[in-house]
């Protein structure tokens, strides 16, 4: 789409398709109405793709759905006009809107797994909209589905539609959903974070499919995401949103190279964080030694002879796709999953494989920070109790001593003790909750912390704050981190050493600069090259390279 910069003469029709003027939407929460979208204007022509970008709560999904004349339960459109192809959707009857939805406007949701009905075959769900809207017969729809499956390069296009949603992979399901959205040849496609739930190597395949579709059918599209690098590949124009208001809108290249607003600049700068201090030289005895561990869930072996070490003060990043065994490795270290063979050593001493057999002191040494801070803290306990429990449990503190230490810990995680100690987790934001989890881990005074995808559920600016905090704490307390992530940008920012995992085996390990510079192992190469960059030409270049090498592009399946 953005192969040519400001080309408006693409193919045939590029007339105005969607126009939103002064759109206002309000939502009902805490017993009152709040304005969640304020006075947003959107103009979209056929054959163009608009990227909506912003952090959670910016109102981007709400705007995307409003393009169908729809507001989520608990929300209502309370101002402005939404004109789609000459029809004012704010004034249209439900009947009229229902005719448009699915037929003329289609929606691709974030989680295809949740959006498909698990009880019906893919192709039947494809055919439903077609027959419902009276566009064609079931047989026509079947034929069309097979054609589309072939065009989006699904494996076995004639047969795959007859599978159930759980019988295909996540990436295939997301593509099947894109095909389904096209079943009635809509004029407008709304993509709502369609690749957020996918691994990077799968993501690129899905992105290519979506871009091709928009080009082939000359649709207009709205692409909603929080990932700048992705939107840079996809959209012709980018609109930045914050708190339901437009911050700025511009053509993709101009937006990337010369953002105007301060907020946009701060978003652009996020990925620039780099670890400030060098790791201390490794000691003779590693702090954590994972010695030739094989582990299984029931009959399924998920870790094969995994062997690595983590030294005091070092950050070791473990990367890999979902199912590669990186979280399982953490479970073995914590003792939640006793290994079948091999052992875990802490500071040279062998630890029991089962956490129940470890002493309090041994448990204290290995602390963990979770991906979802929401579920990692007890919603019914006050911050004081959450952070204070390890203090009294491990260190036997109470009274003034405990209170003093609590305040110290809160200062360390940069939250005001007077304001936060007596709050419940629900009264904190996502980033603050993650800080509380960090404080709880620190309260045990460990030398080693496992960070399991700690930033992936957070907005980018907030995530960067957390990374900076972890980095500072490491410098001050000489902590060792095992940093599990699938985000290579994060790895680049904070890791000293990198372990690449695939299907329960370590593919490659070594110092960061070694892993990130050629020659790569084949899988590392695929992984590294699949991480979107801010350069709008990135995807085209990668595809060209892969075609040149041949065969690699298929590896994403």
């Amino acid at each position: 789409m953005n192969t040519d910069t400001v080309d408006t003469t693409v193919g045939a029709d590029n007339s105005l398709l969607l126009e939103m003027r002064g759109l206002c939407i309000e939502g009902f929460s805490d017993e009152e109405w709040h304005q969640i979208v304020k006075d947003v204007d959107i103009t979209l022509h056929r054959g163009r793709m608009l990227g909506l970008i912003g952090e959670s709560g910016a109102g981007k999904s709400t705007i995307g759905i409003a393009a169908m004349g729809y507001a989520k339960p608990g929300c209502r459109i309370n101002g402005g006009r939404i004109v789609f192809d000459g029809v004012d959707l704010t004034a249209a009857s439900e009947e009229e809107k229902r005719r448009l939805r699915g037929a003329k406007i289609a929606y691709v949701a974030q989680s295809a797994a949740a959006a498909f009905n698990p009880a019906h075959k893919l192709i039947d769900q494809f055919a439903e909209a077609v027959t419902e809207h009276g566009i064609g017969s079931r047989d026509d729809a079947y034929a069309d589905a097979k054609d589309l499956y072939a065009r989006i390069k699904m494996p076995d296009p004639d047969g795959i539609g007859f599978r159930y949603p759980h019988q295909v992979s996540g990436g295939q399901l997301q593509r099947a959903m894109t095909a389904m959205a096209l079943s009635c040849r809509p004029d407008l496609l709304i993509f709502d974070e369609p690749t957020t739930a996918l691994d990077v190597t799968t993501q690129i395949e899905v992105l290519v499919t979506m871009r091709d579709i928009v080009e082939q059918f000359n649709c207009a599209a709205i692409y909603i995401t929080h990932d700048l690098a992705v939107v840079a590949q996809m959209a012709d124009n980018i609109m930045v949103l914050r708190h339901g208001e437009t911050v700025e809108e511009a053509e993709t290249r101009r937006m990337l190279s010369a953002p105007q607003a301060d907020y946009t600049k701060s978003l652009w700068a996020v990925r620039s964080f780099r670890k400030q201090h060098p790791a201390p030289p490794p000691e003779d005895t590693p702090l954590i030694k994972v010695d030739n561990v094989t582990a299984a869930y029931g009959p399924v072996t998920v870790l094969h002879e995994v062997d690595f070490a983590i030294h005091r003060g070092h950050t070791v990043a473990v990367v890999g796709e979902s199912g590669s065994g990186k979280s399982t490795a953490a479970r073995v270290i914590t003792g939640l999953l006793p290994p079948q063979t091999g052992a875990i050593y802490y500071d040279g001493a062998k630890y029991p494989g089962n956490y129940r057999k470890r002493s309090k002191e041994q448990l204290r040494h290995v602390q963990m920070i979770y991906q979802m801070a929401d579920t990692a803290v007890n919603p019914r306990q006050k911050i004081r109790d959450i952070v204070g429990r390890p203090l009294s449990f491990y260190l036997g503190m109470d009274g003034d001593e405990k209170e003093r230490r609590l305040r110290e810990l809160m200062d360390m995680i940069e939250l005001d003790p007077n304001k936060f100690l007596d709050r419940l987790p629900a009264e904190l934001s996502g980033g603050q909750k993650q800080r509380i989890c960090i404080a709880r881990a620190l309260a045990a005074e460990p030398a080693f912390i496992i960070c399991d995808e700690v930033t992936s559920a957070l907005d980018q600016l907030v995530a960067e704050g957390i990374l900076k905090l972890l980095d500072r704490l490491q410098r001050e307390l000489n902590l060792a981190y095992m940093f599990i992530t699938h985000d290579l940008a994060t790895v680049n920012a904070i890791a000293d050493e990198v372990i690449v995992m695939l299907q329960g085996r370590i593919v490659e390990q070594g110092a960061k600069h070694e892993i990130f510079s050629p020659p790569h192992h084949q899988y590392t190469e695929l992984l590294l090259s699949s991480v979107p960059e801010m350069d709008p030409d990135w995807m085209d270049n990668v595809l060209a390279q892969r075609r040149a090498k041949g065969g690699m592009a298929a590896a994403g399946n």
Partner: protein
């Protein structure tokens, strides 16, 4: 601009204590306020029965079946005892036993249910199958059987109904706990080395309180009905102690003559049941986040 500023403004801390509770009460729907008034009235009557009742509990004060609004406000029963007095004492006996029974059922069923979820494995299997067996036998018949075997004292009554009822509580406590036990904060607590009592009471219990409290209200009503039914059948609270269930039975003959007096104790049961349910509905509504708008 720091990273925290960019996030949505967190809600301010709630003001604690009685003032907040009072505000909640004033905001409560009319049905809930009605329910609370009813419950408060019943509790008051039950607690101060001795002072409120015009006569002694089993004192014969007049002729049999005297009419209402005569010498005695609600007339007399089949033995010539004052109906109003019997009703007031009945509140004390019936509510007292029902409350004790429900509390026992919840302590037993709740704790074992959460522990089954936390421990899993053979403990869960054992407890669950035991409960299955107990639930397979119709509760009323089983209760009658056990009461016939062990006698019909207050203590046996409370224990038998409490244990039988705890099976229902066990089911719900285990079901909701299982959703909580998979959360990361439970894993964090396990990894910290916490014992089962701590995890059960401090980590899981606070998170399953709303459904348990709602269930408490409903169970209380059912226990109430069970006791009344048992009393009606002669296995519950024994004469001469006043009890609403047995009062219906004692005066049942009057119904044949078109007098509604025997239905007064039944009405007392019905009113309390409705009151409790109103309050439970309101509580469920508040804590589950259900809203009326949609």
């Amino acid at each position: 601009m720091t990273s925290e500023d960019l996030e949505t403004e967190p809600r301010p801390a709630k003001p604690g204590g009685g003032a907040a509770a009072w505000r909640e009460l004033k905001k409560a729907p009319l049905t809930a306020q009605f329910g609370l008034v009813v419950i408060a009235f019943y509790l008051f009557v039950a607690l101060f029965a001795q002072y409120l009742a015009p006569h002694g509990e089993s004192e014969i004060v007049g002729a049999e079946f005297e009419p209402r609004f005569g010498e005695f406000f609600l007339g007399t029963d089949n033995l010539g005892r004052d109906m109003l007095t019997r009703l007031i004492y009945g509140a004390q006996n019936t509510i007292g036993i029902a409350l004790a029974t429900t509390v026992l059922a919840f302590m037993l069923g709740g704790v074992v249910g959460i522990m089954a979820a936390v421990l899993g494995g053979w403990f869960d299997q054992f407890a669950s199958r035991l409960v299955d067996v107990l639930m397979a036998i119709p509760a009323l018949i089983f209760a009658m059987l056990l009461l016939t075997i062990f006698g019909t004292g207050w203590l046996t009554l409370i224990t038998v109904i409490g244990v039988l009822d705890s099976t229902r509580v066990y089911r719900i406590a285990r079901a909701v706990s299982i959703n909580v036990v998979v959360m990361d904060f439970i894993e964090a607590a396990r990894l910290r080395g916490e014992g089962v009592p701590w995890i059960t009471v401090r980590e899981v219990l606070p998170n399953i309180m709303p459904p348990l409290v709602a269930e408490f209200g409903l169970r209380f009503c059912f226990v109430f009905l069970t006791i009344s039914a048992l009393s009606f059948l002669g296995l519950g609270i024994q004469p001469p102690d006043a009890d609403w269930g047995s009062m219906v039975r004692d005066n049942a003959t009057l119904i044949t003559y078109g007098d509604i007096n025997p239905l007064l104790p039944a009405a007392a049961i019905a009113l309390l049941t409705i009151g409790v349910n109103f309050v439970v509905d309101w509580f469920l509504h508040k804590t589950s986040g259900l809203k009326d708008e949609h």
